[in-house]
Structures are given as C-alpha cells and as structure tokens.
C-alpha cells in the first residue's frame, strides 16, 4: 500500500514536470515553426523505438545485454530494408537501475523523443515505474525480461493496456524449478532461501512452494535475506541443520554469488537452483566455478540449444560482439522483432494500432521460443533448464508450459 502511494506521488510529480516540459515545448514551437515542420518530415522515414535500460547501476549487466541484443536486431532489420522501407532508430536512455530514473527516462522518451514504441527496463520493479507513463501517452511498451506477474496485470486484476513482455512470468519459472527438483533430481525435503527485498524473488518462492507441495515434497526450511547483505553464514548454517536435499534460491547474482560460495564453504553439498536472476558472468566470478557445480537455473534460452535458428543467431551475435549471447541478449533481440512484427501487421505507427497488433500476436517464432500472447499480455512459451559445469552453462532440458 505504502509503495503504491509513493508511486502515485512520483507519478504526480512527473505529471507536473511533464506538463511544464510540454508547455516549454509549445513555447519553443511558436518561436520557430519552420523547425517543427522539418522534424515531422524526418520522422516519416524513420521509426523511433525507445530503449529505457539499466546501462549503469546494480543490474547494469542485464540492461546493457538487452541493449546489445536489440542493436543487432535493428541492424538486421535495417539491412533487410527496414519496416515498409522505413529504417528503425533505437533511442537508448540509461535509467541507472533506479525506479525514479526509470520513470524519468520513460517521460523523456515519450515527450521529447516521441518514440513509436518502447523497450521497457530489464527488472520488474523498474518496469512497473514506467507503466503509468506508457498507458498515459499510449506508447506500446515491451519489457524483455521483467518477469513479475504485476508488470502487465494490476493488483485489482485489470490489465496494463500498453504493457507487454517477451519473457515468461515468474510463477512459471518457480513451477519449472519445482518439477525439475522432484522429477529429475528426486528431491523430497527442500529449502527455500529468497531475497525478501524483491517482488521477483518472492513471487518465485511462492509458486515454487505451491508446486513442490503439490508434487508431494516438504519445505523443511524457509529463510530470507535482503539485497546488499554480504554475510549469509548464519542463515546457511541454520538451513544446513534442517538437512534439505535441494535448495531453491531465487534472487539476483550479486547476492546469490556469495550465497553459493558460503554454502559450499559450510559444507552444503545439496543441489542449488535459481532462475534467470542468476544469469550473469559476475555470478561465476563471485562464487567460483567449483562452488557452482551441481547448481541449476531455469532460463529463457541456451546458446547451446542445437536448434538451427538459435545457432544462426548465436553466430551473428558472436560475429558482432566477440562473446556468446546470454538470455538477455536473446530477449533484447526478440523484443525488437516482436515490436517489428506488430508494426508490420498494424501497418501503422499509431500507438493504439500497434497495441492491438501486439495483443493479437500468435505463433510468432523467435529465438527464445515460439509464442502467442495470452489475455494477460504474457507470452505462452517454453523454458530451458541449464546446469553449471565448471563455470560454464550447459544445456540440460527444455520444459513446455
């Protein structure tokens, strides 16, 4: 509730500031009408897509990866002639991994850059900070990796009309992890150690718990930590004494890296599992490749997936960036194609027409899976389970919804 109120306050502040910006823009418009005519002439042969991303700050590795993926897609589309002969221009704005800055960036993209569609921030909290702006200015907004259910669906059950996503939602990852634990690993007594400061981790923990209990398992320990903690030894010792045969750790790599390391130092040998929040090279540096053995993550895609189109994408990406694409790269890439597909079907750059086309997307084949958009604006698609072997992610299996 308190969160909502502050959000509203932010929104009203930004509304006020955007009014001022609008008024200023109107003033300058009166002074020089010739320049205004010029810009509208320019915009007819360029389609501007905004990208409101975490390019610095605590989750910079997510945002910049999505940006790189999106750039590759834009290059490919432009090289193939663009959308109806119009080139795409990607306008990137840094939201510094901060909620207030994310709102700021969305206002900037909507009012100053006048983008046709936006790529929303990488983490769910930052996306939620931009949804009001998207609805207000009627700009279709697609997040590549914001997996919390309340990104597209509000608490009262209403849908954020202009907000979409390319990734699957949190509860699905929790269910996949629970099924993997019982069916593949035969786990019976599990522990959950979740980041209490993020909606993402709490959502995953809840759906994991529900599914594992439905599968006949017991949760023997349920613990929590707060982002930015560095010492997890005492809670891990407590978990160890409960003797679980599987530990689910939804959270982000900055803390998870330390948790995995400290758990192995304390002699916890059980398999550990997390979700896409683990997916960062920094995780391997923090935890060490040895400690990461016998850990699993659910993810959107694997660069080792033998599928032909995926290998084509991997080659193109490696040619441009000299590194193997991770899931965020792939999701950023897919997000651009998702928007492109909708603009082509809408045959217009009008916000409402694109919104309608996005909602009607069906059987669109992309790198991270073939998907259709459901009535809650969530894609229905498959998930991949990866295993860490000596610091490398290895493709384990693919799970359908």
């Amino acid at each position: 509730m308190a969160e909502k109120r502050t959000l509203k306050r932010f929104a009203s502040v930004f509304l006020a500031s955007s009014l001022i910006v609008g008024a200023l823009a109107a003033c300058s418009g009166k002074e020089g009408t010739s320049t205004a005519g010029n810009t509208s002439g320019e915009s007819s042969d360029v389609i501007k897509i905004g990208a409101n991303l975490e390019l610095s700050g605590s989750v910079a590795s997510y945002g910049s990866s999505i940006g790189q993926g999106a750039e590759l897609a834009v290059e490919e589309i432009n090289a193939a002639g663009g959308i109806d002969g119009k080139k795409i221009e990607l306008v990137k704005v840094d939201n510094k991994s901060d909620n207030a800055e994310a709102t700021n960036a969305a206002v900037k993209l909507a009012t100053q850059e006048k983008v046709v569609a936006m790529i929303a921030p990488a983490t769910s909290g930052n996306v939620i900070a931009t949804t009001q702006i998207a609805n207000q200015y009627k700009i279709p907004t697609v997040t590549a990796s914001g997996t919390a259910p309340n990104v597209t669906e509000n608490e009262d059950g209403s849908i954020n009309e202009f907000v979409f996503r390319t990734c699957f939602i949190d509860p699905f990852q929790g269910i996949v992890a629970a099924n993997f634990a019982t069916k593949e690993l035969g786990a019976k007594n599990v522990a959950i150690y979740a980041d209490n400061a993020s909606d993402y981790a709490k959502g995953l923990a809840a759906s994991f718990k529900e599914q594992i209990e439905a599968n006949g398992g017991t949760v023997v320990a349920e613990e929590a930590y707060v982002a930015d903690d560095t010492d997890f030894n005492s809670t891990l010792t407590r978990i160890k004494s409960a003797n679980p045969d599987f530990i689910f750790i939804p959270g982000y790599y900055e803390e998870v890296g330390l948790i995995v390391k400290q758990a192995r130092e304390l002699g916890i040998e059980a398999p550990l599992m997390g979700a896409d929040g683990w997916d960062s090279p920094t995780l391997v540096e923090l935890a060490g490749s040895e400690a990461l053995n016998n850990t699993f993550i659910t993810n959107h895609y694997s660069s080792q997936d033998p599928d032909e189109t995926i290998q084509g994408f991997v080659k193109a990406f490696e040619g441009k960036n000299n590194e193997s694409p991770n899931a965020f790269h792939a999701l950023g890439y897919d997000t651009v194609y998702f928007i492109k597909d909708a603009i082509e079907r809408a045959d217009s750059t009008d916000g409402e027409a694109i919104q309608k086309a996005l909602a009607e997307t069906k059987d669109l084949s992309l790198i991270t899976g073939t998907f259709s958009v459901d009535e809650k604006h969530n894609p229905v698609k498959s998930a991949t389970v990866l295993e860490y072997v000596d610091g490398e992610q290895k493709f384990n299996s693919k799970v359908n919804p």
Partner: protein, 291 residues
Amino acid sequence: MEWIQQLVNGISVGSIYALIALGYTMVYGIIKLINFAHGDVFMLGAFIGFFAITRWDVGFLPALIISMVLCAIIGVIIERVAYKRLRSATRIAALITAIGVSFLIEYTMIFFRGPGLETYPEVLPNTSIDVFGVSVSSKSILILIVTIILMILLQFIVHKTKIGKAMRAVSLDADAARLMGINVDNTISATFAIGSALAGAAGVIFGAYYTRIEPLMGVLPGLKAFIAAVLGGIGNIPGAMVGGLVLGVVETVVSAFGFSLWRDAAAFIILILILILKPSGLFGKNTREKV
C-alpha cells in the same frame, strides 16, 4: 554442533567490526570527533588491496601492508585538510564535515570507476577444516589470526611506545599535554594514521573473505562499527574490540533463531538501548563531561 558453527560465524563477522571500530574509538578518544568518513576509508582499503592483488600480482600479506600504508596516508590527509581547521569549532560543525567527507569519498570513487562491483581474486587457501564436526574454513582462521595480531600490535603501540604515551596524554587533556612539550598536531595525525591503517586492513580482509566489493560497501559496516564502538564505550580501545565481537555474535544469533530479516534492526536496537541505559558503554568510565 550447529551452535559452535554459529559462534565461529559470529566471531568472523565481529572481528571485522572490531577492526573498524578501533579507528572510530581512537579518533573519538583524542579529538571527540565521530569520524563518519571512517567507513569509506575501509572501502578505499578494500579497493587498494584489490588493485594491489590484480595489477601488481602480490599476495595477501603484501596487499594488506600496502593498503594499510596508503590508508594511513589518506587518513592523515583527511585530518589535515578537513578536520584540523575545525578543531576549535563546535563539535556539530566537525560532525557535519565528517559526513560531507564520507559522501565526497564515496561519490568520487563512483565518478572515477562507476558504481559496479568488483570481485576479489582467491588469495587465501580455501579448505574446510573439520573440528569436532564443525566445518571451519581455513580462511576464517587466518583472518582471525591476522586480526588478533593487529590488535596486539595496537595495544603494544598505545601502551609501550612514546607515541602511544603521547596519544594517551592528549586524549586525557590536550592543553596540559601541549604544556608538557607534546606535539599535539603530530599526535592527532598519528592517531588518524593508525586508525585508518586498521580500517584499510579490515577492507582487505573483508574483500578476501566476502569476495564482493563496491564503492558503497563502507556505509553499513561503518555504522555497525560505530555501534560496536559505542557498545564497548567510545574512546575505549579494549571496549571497541569486545563491542565488535559481541555485536557480530549477537547478529549471528538473531539470524540463527530464524530472524535473519531482523539482523540489522537488532544492531540498531542495541545502539538505542545502550544510549538509553548506559551511554558510557560496557567499558566506558562513567565521568561527566567537563565544562
């Protein structure tokens, strides 16, 4: 067995708090200033150690010494530039300056290298040793040994050397000490140097133990160490050591009972309780302030 393990965990955290708390308590003892920039000297120490290890390829002990020396110099510079001219100003002016210096260090660091994290390389042997069913990592034993050596060294400096004698004299009565021919300015600088060197050492130890370092890492440990210093009686050196260890163990016990989300709150509740019930701390002398 679980409880012995938890005690080991608590002492590991506590010894880092204790090392930082020593700097707080020494500076307070000598010029009655709570040096809030101390937590950031700790951060600088961690980064200096990191650069020493990754760029110059040195081991843990040389990195520790390099970091201590550079932090001592930084501490003296902070004192000479920011605090010296405020020595006759009100205490609140000096306190606000200390907070300003703290922000200056944090954001200068972010300006030059960004807010991202850095990963400490493995510099210490990492094997688990089983002692009566308790697995203790060789790292935490080594860190405990280094901490104890540094504390013994500090006790030796304060009680057996000339500069230590001068420090004790200045903290008792700066004017009388000056009349006795003690160079008060140099003594205060020496106090800052020693306190900052300990913070630098704590930084390298923290990095080697917890792996993750970042420009704002000093804020929370700094506050915790401040609590430890108050708990032990601010201005009292053995009090800071005991206060740090007690705080570490209390935090661990709170987590061990399953209230991990209350861990930080517990530390601050201790601060409030101490300030209400026994403001002079566990070991502080109960003297009224002279007017």
